[in-house]
């Protein structure tokens, strides 16, 4: 046969291979085909194609493998078991940029499912190869490599430490400065995944100078980028006071407050998370946020958002109020109590209600002024109801009880306490009655009001064990009034009077 004919056979075979691999790659984009492909044994067919001489076939085979592994973790495990990863890692160092992108995609698809698979990827020596890819010039390659590193680092602190040990962090910080938008997003997300595990990792990321660059991107118009940036800054700031101070020194306030009004809700949520992580460490940081107008912005945010999105906002208000009574008063003045009250009323989820109850407790527990502002917003009956409802979670019960206790111990605003006399269970009732017993002996006007509003009657109806604290308080209150009035309101007095009629001899 002539040379041409021989070559033609090879050309046909090459065309067939190309077509097969391209079709498989296209089919793998749809989830319904993947089961069929798996049953047809596509893994064992794709593996030799990875070593093909034609670069296009290699790249497309790698792409197809990546899409398959992306779908579920069984396929990813099959990729790992088929010893494909060492080959990929080896060729990551050698081949052109399209292949590198595809290979990094496969690594990422395998690593994303579980920590064991990510560990398998790391064990093949993928980290060094990926870090070398981060030094390439092509932004697509860098993006794939950064994405893979981010997925590896996401699972656990050890994996993140191995990523850091491979020297990825300075390169990721360089990637964040690139002009390509998607690369920035991925690099920011990878930095966020690395720094979320432990303070040492966060310190490593901060030492590479990440904060300044991330802070510059805070006012970028792209929403997805802002999500990642805020998430990264929040993960860095949450570990310790020094890190939070470094984040604040990058001058993100007050620019960050505008992002609380962003149309994208996850940007708002991550922004609120960042502010919460900064505010929770020390009173000085909270004071800084309050002085920048952060509390007003946060209260508006809590009012406008719904569901899980507003949870960080609610917690931030609680943390700020917990530090000092100055800050708690600042929150009250910024209408924070009304906002939290709305959350407590309208949210269906238990954990958000629990957070709102906790925050209200932190606000109200500092002094009688604070307790009065909280009580005047009609919050106490709602807290009581949250405590008493039979179907609530234990967390909400405990938090609302603690909040009630804190507020009641400082509350001397008697009009707000009276509704609680009716509904409260004994352990709460004892605090309510204690407050009454503190105020009534010294204030004649309140004594009169207490009687006319029916409070004294309710007190008489309370049954207390003699010798308990509740009985002492009731005694103190009864001693504030003349005996006749006390007897008049005690239950069964009308019967006692009627009995006296029976024993009375009429004087003719």
């Amino acid at each position: 046969m002539s040379q041409r004919q021989v070559l033609q056979v090879f050309e046909q075979y090459q065309k067939a291979r190309t077509q097969f691999v391209q079709t498989v790659a296209e089919l793998a984009t749809r989830p319904q085909n993947i089961e069929t492909l798996q049953n047809a044994g596509v893994m064992s067919l794709l593996r030799p194609l990875l070593l093909d001489i034609v670069p296009t076939i290699q790249q497309t085979a790698a792409l197809a493998l990546g899409r398959l592994a992306n779908y579920n973790d069984e396929l990813a495990e099959a990729v790992v078991k088929g010893d494909i990863l060492p080959q990929l890692v080896y060729s990551l160092a050698e081949q052109n940029r399209f292949y590198k992108k595809a290979a990094a995609f496969v690594l990422r698809a395998v690593a994303k499912h579980s920590p064991e698979l990510a560990q398998a990827v790391v064990d093949c020596g993928a980290l060094d190869a990926l870090v070398i890819c981060l030094e390439e010039f092509d932004p697509g390659v860098k993006e794939s490599a950064a994405w893979a590193l981010g997925y590896i680092a996401r699972h656990s602190a050890e994996l993140a430490q191995s990523v850091v040990d491979a020297g990825a962090v300075p390169l990721l910080v360089l990637c964040v400065q690139e002009p390509d938008l998607s690369l920035k997003r991925i690099a920011a997300s990878a930095l966020s995944d690395i720094s979320k595990h432990s303070p040492e990792l966060a310190q490593t990321v901060v030492d590479a100078g990440a904060i300044a660059h991330l802070a510059q991107m805070v006012l970028n118009p792209d929403a997805k980028l802002k999500r990642q940036v805020f998430s990264a800054l929040a993960q860095m700031a949450k570990h310790s006071v020094d890190l939070a101070e470094m984040v604040v020194e990058a001058e993100i306030f007050p620019a960050v407050l505008t992002c609380l009004k962003d149309p994208d809700e996850y940007v708002r949520k991550n922004c609120a998370t960042l502010i919460r992580e900064v505010a929770k460490h020390t009173p000085e940081l909270s004071q800084l946020i309050v002085n920048a107008g952060g509390v007003a912005a946060m209260v508006d945010f809590v009012g406008d958002s719904r569901g899980n999105v507003r949870l960080p906002g609610v917690m931030m208000l609680g943390y700020v109020a917990a530090h000092s009574e100055n800050l708690a008063m600042a929150i009250i003045v910024s209408r924070g109590v009304l906002g939290l009250d709305a959350v407590l009323q309208t949210e269906p989820e238990d954990h958000i209600q629990a957070a709102a109850a906790w925050s209200l407790g932190q606000i109200g527990r500092h002094s009688p002024e604070h307790a009065k502002s909280v009580a005047q917003a009609n919050v106490l009956p709602k807290l009581l109801r949250a405590y008493l409802r039979p179907d609530v979670s234990e967390d909400l019960q405990i938090k609302s009880k603690k909040a009630l206790k804190h507020i009641l111990q400082k509350c001397v605003h008697l009009e707000a306490l009276e509704p609680l006399l009716q509904e409260a269970p004994p352990n709460i009732l004892k605090h309510v009655v204690a407050q009454f017993s503190k105020v009534l002996p010294h204030n004649p006007k309140s004594r009169r009001l207490f009687v006319t509003s029916g409070g004294l009657k309710k007190i008489q109806e309370i049954r207390a064990e003699p010798g308990s604290a509740l009985a002492e308080y009731i005694n103190t209150i009864n001693n504030c009034y003349p005996e006749e009035i006390v007897k008049y309101y005690s239950p069964g007095y009308s019967d006692a009077l009627l009995e006296r009629i029976e024993n009375y001899l009429p004087q003719v």
Binding site: L257, K261, N291, A292, A296, A297, S334
Partner: protein, 359 residues
């Protein structure tokens, strides 16, 4: 003797009297003895009592004087003590007064200044309002932008749809779906279709023909042999003397006559080389290279100094961009430069050390 006789006569009576008197005295002896004892005892008693009383009186006097003395001494001590205590109380009160004033002042000024806190809370409220209004403005601006982008997007989509679906426009004979006779009005899609210029589908570039310099027409449809007889319309400005239309047409539609260099494929040389090499390989019988002299045949292989150096093989270029191998440097010190340091770098690059070059 008469007396004696008298006396003797009386002796009996006297003796009897004596006996009677003795008897009486005997009878009354105990009484009188008791009485005498009583008188004596009374008298002794008086004497003893008065002695004891005197002694008592003396003792009491002494004790009285002594007690008075001790009492006065004690009272004096108590008095001194109470005076001291009164003085101390007084000083304490005065000191407490000073401390009270100082503490009140200090707390009110430095620990909790009610007026400054009031002012702070008021300014905080004002600042909150300001921030709220600013944020509302920015939110409004963002929303406006988003709305504009959305509107732009919808307009673009409608235009793209209309450009592709021009065939749905109604004709005189056949009204379209949007201009249905059963409907009292035409739908807006009809006007949209009428107003947009239809987009023709993109011409698929013909594949497969390699560049052949002998082709006379390039970049034109091969089927269209006839050239247009009319040139495109001229712009409005006044034109100079015109050339002949045939000349212009010939010039305008002149065939593409690329030079040989332009016409050659970029990879032609490489492909030609490879083809030649493949042919040569196919026709070769012996693969050993012919070396004419023995010296050439048996020359020992001399490795490059470059690779045989004891300092190791420095890879061509570096293994990767920005690689440094500090352990292979001659010394860990940095180089000094003779160029003076640039002050801008201090601001921008915190790692730049004055006078030294970075590794």
């Amino acid at each position: 003797m008469a007396t004696l006789h008298k006396l003797l006569k009386e002796v009996d009576s006297i003796v009897k009297e004596i006996y009677d008197q003795q008897l009486e005295a005997e009878v009354h002896r105990k009484e009188e003895y008791d009485a005498a004892v009583r008188i004596q005892s009374w008298y002794r008693g008086i004497r003893t009592r008065s002695l004891v009383k005197n002694l008592n009186r003396c003792a009491i006097r002494i004790q009285r004087h002594y007690r008075g003395f001790m009492g006065r001494r004690r009272i004096r001590a108590i008095l001194i003590d109470s005076v001291k205590r009164m003085c101390l109380d007084h000083y304490n009160k005065q000191a407490a007064q000073i401390q009270k004033m100082w503490r009140g002042f200090y707390v009110r000024k430095y620990v909790f200044d009610y007026y400054s806190r009031k002012k702070y809370l008021e300014s905080l409220v004002a600042k909150n309002e300001m921030i709220r209004s600013e944020l509302a403005e920015q939110e409004e601006a963002m929303r406006r932008e988003a709305r504009k982008r959305e509107e732009e997007e919808t307009r673009r989509r409608l235009r793209a749809w209309a450009e592709r679906h021009h065939y749905l426009v109604s004709t005189v004979v056949q009204p379209s779906v949007f201009n249905s006779p059963y409907r009292p009005f035409t739908l807006p899609e009809e006007t949209l279709l009428l107003n947009t210029r239809p987009k023709t589908p993109p011409k698929v570039a013909s594949v497969g023909h390699g560049f052949d310099p002998s082709w006379r027409q390039y970049g034109q449809n091969q089927l269209m042999v006839r050239l247009p007889s009319k040139l495109p319309p001229l712009p409005a400005k006044p034109q100079g003397p015109f050339r002949q239309p045939e000349e212009v047409r010939a010039q305008r539609y002149r065939e593409f006559q690329p030079s040989l260099r332009v016409a050659t494929d970029y990879e032609a040389v490489k492909r030609a080389r490879e083809q030649w090499r493949a042919e040569e390989w196919a026709g070769r019988l012996y693969d050993d290279e012919f070396k004419p002299t023995k010296a050439l045949r048996e020359k020992a292989y001399q490795p490059l100094m470059h690779t045989a150096s004891e300092y190791g093989h420095l890879a061509y270029g570096n293994a990767h961009f920005r690689e440094v191998q500090p352990e292979r440097h001659v010394t860990q010190d940095r180089f000094r430069t003779i160029v003076p340091p640039v002050p801008v770098f201090d601001k921008l690059n915190a790692e730049y050390v004055e006078g030294y070059v970075e590794n």
